[in-house]
Amino acid sequence: MEILVCVKRVPDTSENEIQLNAAGSDIERDELVYSINEPDNYAVEEALQIVGRVGGKVTVVTVGNEDDEEVLRREMAMGANHGVLISDDTFAGSDGRGIAAILKRFVEQGSYDLILTGVQAEAGAAEVGGMLAAMLDYPFASLVSAIEVIDGKKLKISREIEGGNKEISEIDLPCVLSIQTGINDPRYVGMRGIRAVASVPIATYGVSDLGLDPNSVGAKAAKVQRIDYFVPTVGKGAEILEGSREENIDKVLELVAAKGGLK
């Protein structure tokens, strides 16, 4: 089975303190540490496990710039067979639909049985997978938490639904699935693995390679534009505790007890 996993490099929320920049237009990116979007990592692991069971190849693709090669290499160190970087100056400022349109052209140039994305990235839009499926006219399922291959033409998938319940469906191949975290235990990628793929060439596609009209992507074509970034103001009744962890814990206990929450 040929599997394509769409991945994204994002600021690692567990290793950064996210702050707004002075202009309020974006987050402060100077000292950020980036890594692969966590759900994407689960998607790659799932692809590797499927290939491990039924055979095939795994390709990871990202739309970005040369800095993003880092996450492609990490996923190749995990075991992905190919890494593809789609990069062009004209892509800058693309909205979700733009990214999906770029990926669509890439998918059409190859022959993939299954396309996976992480359930969502740091921006929380969870939009590219669904739009990509629609553009390709492929079936789509979101929040997938288990995959079983049936006779190479269909998948049996499990989706998480409200209240922790599971919904089991069959879906025809080719299809697009967005993968929920927790679907598997992703393997560890060590320094050794990363070094082993450090000089493996990564294919790069630009706007002309994909035969895209430069006017159909990028900021000009974007129909969604970010106009502001802000930190919510402290609302009525909210109290921000400032102190050491121990002090804060004691204070929280005290507050909860005072409201009758602890007996």
Partner: protein
């Protein structure tokens, strides 16, 4: 001379009918043993290389101490004493056993130099030795069968009980001693009846007792006893020789070599491969131990040498807490694997993965590398290197618990397991009230004589900041010109290495070593024993490093540090951190510091010094979620309570984290507290009363200057 010739003639006449048989058994016994040993050597030949042929004199010294001197045995009083007794017996009896074997076909044989008085003395001594060994075997059998010491039990998850085999082997040795005595007694009784002077003065020995029974029998029946004694001795001897390589008594043959080839520098972790230099690690296609053949030959010899005495697991904190690890069975399972896949006949090896086969992943991650097992093993079997090698194999295959992946990733990108910003590493020095009394400089712009290596937990964990500040205040008080690396410091990588991520460790080590060398300091002080161990043993070409307790102890001796009397009626106990005590033999300095505090009442826990019981493990072990029945730290806190203490003094921030948590889990909050030795020393330190001429401002200026 005439008498001995006659005795030889008599012996010859008794044994003559069996010559052909005896010869056959000799050839069969020696041949089988040679074949068995050859087959046992097969995996060792296929194993990885191991550098164990250096320092022959030092190695011989260890043979003298640990093998001949049985150094570790008295740590278990009863079993140890019994072992020393029958080991001494075996050493004495070795020559006699060979002499007896030869007598079967050459009745007039005497070992060179044993013809005169010396031979007589030797005979008397060995008569007693045989008796002692016989009695020891009876005692050991009774102990195994009736008293059943708990550490010999085999938990069902590790297979069947080993008792029957152990008792069988003990009984065989008893039979061997009995046969030897029978033979000697019959020989002597025959000589006495023939009116020769029988040199037999080992009164009340086993041969002596048998002789008194035989002496009234007819000469021909004595001859038959002699024949039977010889045959029984020969058969038992060769049976034991050939049976031992199939079980726990193989150590009789291998222990000498195992001790000779044992690791000399125990604190230096085994390299990934002995025959591949660090620069060439990238060329390796595989890391660590994945299959049995990835072990080194010495580690396989360890498996063969285990005597199944259970002392390792008896002391293992992971085993005590019910984690799925028992060092004893780490070895036994590998030995069983070797026996199964390297059989006496037929094809050898199967190349299957060990973890997932004989070991579980949890078993391998459960070890805290505290070293209690290695400290105890009388045969000097190594465990930490094997665990680390198995972990290297797991890391290489990406089989790392999810709980450890985030901290490892953060160590790679941020140089600390918490994923905190590099620039926040020195935040602890900026607390207002601390800054007013002591200003710590960072060495990026300033120079200093001494580096205080803080390491990640003390830098980032709020609770541990006070250990850092206490350490800085002590250094300041004794007039040390010191500083910290600040943002340039990375995690020492101590646990990164011990959790099998060698290349990440090398990267952290190189960044630190470069920063240390660039700072131009002459020495390093740390309050974190894990950092101490890394800097001392894992790093190369960095200045000498000391733990803060050593610095304080020296200050006390030099009169530079004086303590105010301690108030209250608290009882203190000192918990030896594994990487300060067992791994670096720093036991006395912290105790001297505590004993220098006037009025401090100190008790020792039952398990202290080199038998200290791990707190639960430091570094990455804090992130690992083990499967266990009870926390290791909770067990430790209970030990302190049992000793009658209500304050546990530690000397390691990881011990502090584990013990403070354990106090809460054990429900001892309010009854038990923990304090770091640096915190306690700083709290009790007598500050110079400022002379009238010195203003507070001047005092502060001195402190700022690091004087």
């Amino acid at each position: 001379m005439v008498a001995s010739t006659q005795a030889a003639a008599q012996l010859g006449s008794w044994l003559a009918p069996g010559y052909a048989l005896f010869l056959c058994i000799h050839f069969l016994g020696v041949g089988s043993f040679a074949y068995i040993v050859m087959r046992r050597m097969v995996p060792l030949v296929r194993a990885q290389s191991d550098l164990r042929f250096d320092h022959p004199l030092e190695r011989l010294g260890r043979v003298g101490k640990f093998w001949l001197g049985q150094w570790k045995h008295p740590r278990y009083k009863v079993a140890g004493t019994v072992h020393i007794l029958f080991f001494a017996g075996f050493i004495l009896l070795a020559m006699r056993a060979f002499t007896v074997l030869i007598l079967g076909t050459s009745p007039d044989f005497v070992m060179p130099g044993m013809r005169g008085e010396l031979g007589h003395v030797y005979e008397v001594v060995t008569d007693y030795a045989a008796t002692v060994v016989f009695l020891c075997m009876i005692f050991a059998i009774v102990r195994r069968v009736v008293f059943k010491p708990a550490r010999y039990e085999v938990p069902s998850k590790f297979g069947k009980a080993h008792k029957a085999d152990a008792v069988f082997l003990l009984a065989l040795i008893a039979i061997l001693m009995l046969a030897d005595s029978l033979f000697e007694a019959a020989k002597a009784a025959g000589q006495m009846q023939a009116g020769q002077i029988a040199h037999f003065s080992a009164a009340y020995s086993l041969p002596w007792l048998l002789k008194t029974v035989f002496v009234s029998a007819s000469l021909s029946s004595i001859g038959q006893f002699c024949f039977a004694g010889y045959l029984l001795h020969e058969i038992t001897f060769y049976f034991l020789l050939c049976y031992r390589p199939f079980g726990i008594q193989f150590h009789v043959e291998t222990s000498l070599f195992n001790v000779y080839f044992s690791k000399l520098d125990r604190e230096v972790l085994k390299p990934v491969r002995w025959d591949v230099s660090e620069e060439n690690l990238d060329q390796l296609t595989s890391f660590g131990v994945k299959t049995f053949e990835d072990f080194t030959w010495k580690h396989m010899l360890d498996f063969y040498s285990c005597a199944d005495c259970g002392r390792c697991s008896d002391n293992c904190p992971a085993n005590a807490a019910g984690r799925p690890l028992s060092p004893r069975f780490l070895t036994i399972k590998a030995r069983d694997y070797a026996f199964q896949h390297y059989p006496m006949f037929g094809p050898t090896g199967n190349g299957k993965a060990l973890v997932g086969g004989i070991y579980s992943e949890d078993e391998i991650w459960s070890c805290t590398t505290c070293g209690a097992c290695e400290e105890e093993c009388p045969l000097l079997i190594e465990y930490i290197d094997k665990i680390v090698d198995l972990r290297r194999g797991l890391v290489d295959e990406g089989r790392v618990p999810q709980s450890l992946q985030k901290p490892l990733k953060a160590l790679e990108s941020r140089g600390n397991p918490y994923g905190k910003m590099e620039k926040k590493r020195s935040d602890w020095i900026n607390a207002k009230d601390f800054q007013q009394t002591c200003r710590v400089k960072t060495l990026d712009k300033n120079g200093a004589d001494t580096l205080y290596f803080v390491d990640s937990i003390t830098s980032y964990d709020e609770r541990m900041h006070s250990i850092g500040r206490a350490t800085a205040k002590i250094l300041d008080h004794i007039g040390e010109n010191f500083g910290i690396l600040g943002a340039a410091e990375k995690d020492s990588g101590h646990e990164v290495r011990r959790f099998g991520e060698e290349l990440l460790f090398i990267s952290l080590r190189d960044q630190n070593a470069e920063a240390i060398r660039a700072s131009g300091v002459q020495k390093i002080v740390t309050a974190d024993p894990h950092a101490l161990n890394a800097l001392k043993h894992d790093y190369k070409n960095v200045p000498p490093v000391e733990h803060i307790s050593q610095v304080v102890a020296r200050g006390v001796k030099a009169g530079k540090v004086k303590f105010n009397p301690i108030e209250g009626d608290k009882v203190y106990t000192y918990h030896d951190p594994c990487y300060l005590g067992r791994h670096n033999q720093i036991y006395d300095d912290p105790r001297e510091v505590l004993d220098a505090i006037p009025g401090l009442r100190r008790v020792e826990m039952k398990r202290s010094r080199d038998r200290s019981f791990c707190c639960g493990g430091g570094g990455l072990m804090l992130f690992y979620e083990p499967k266990e029945e009870e926390r290791i730290g909770v067990k430790r806190v209970r030990m302190a309570a049992e000793a009658g203490a209500n304050v546990i003094v530690t000397a390691c921030p990881f011990c502090m984290a584990n013990i403070e948590d354990a106090i809460k889990v054990a429900g001892l909050e309010g009854k038990m507290t923990a304090i770091d030795i640096a915190e306690l020393a700083e709290q009790q330190m007598v500050r110079e009363i400022p002379p009238q001429t010195k203003s507070t401002f001047e005092m502060q200026a001195e402190c700022v200057a690091g004087r």
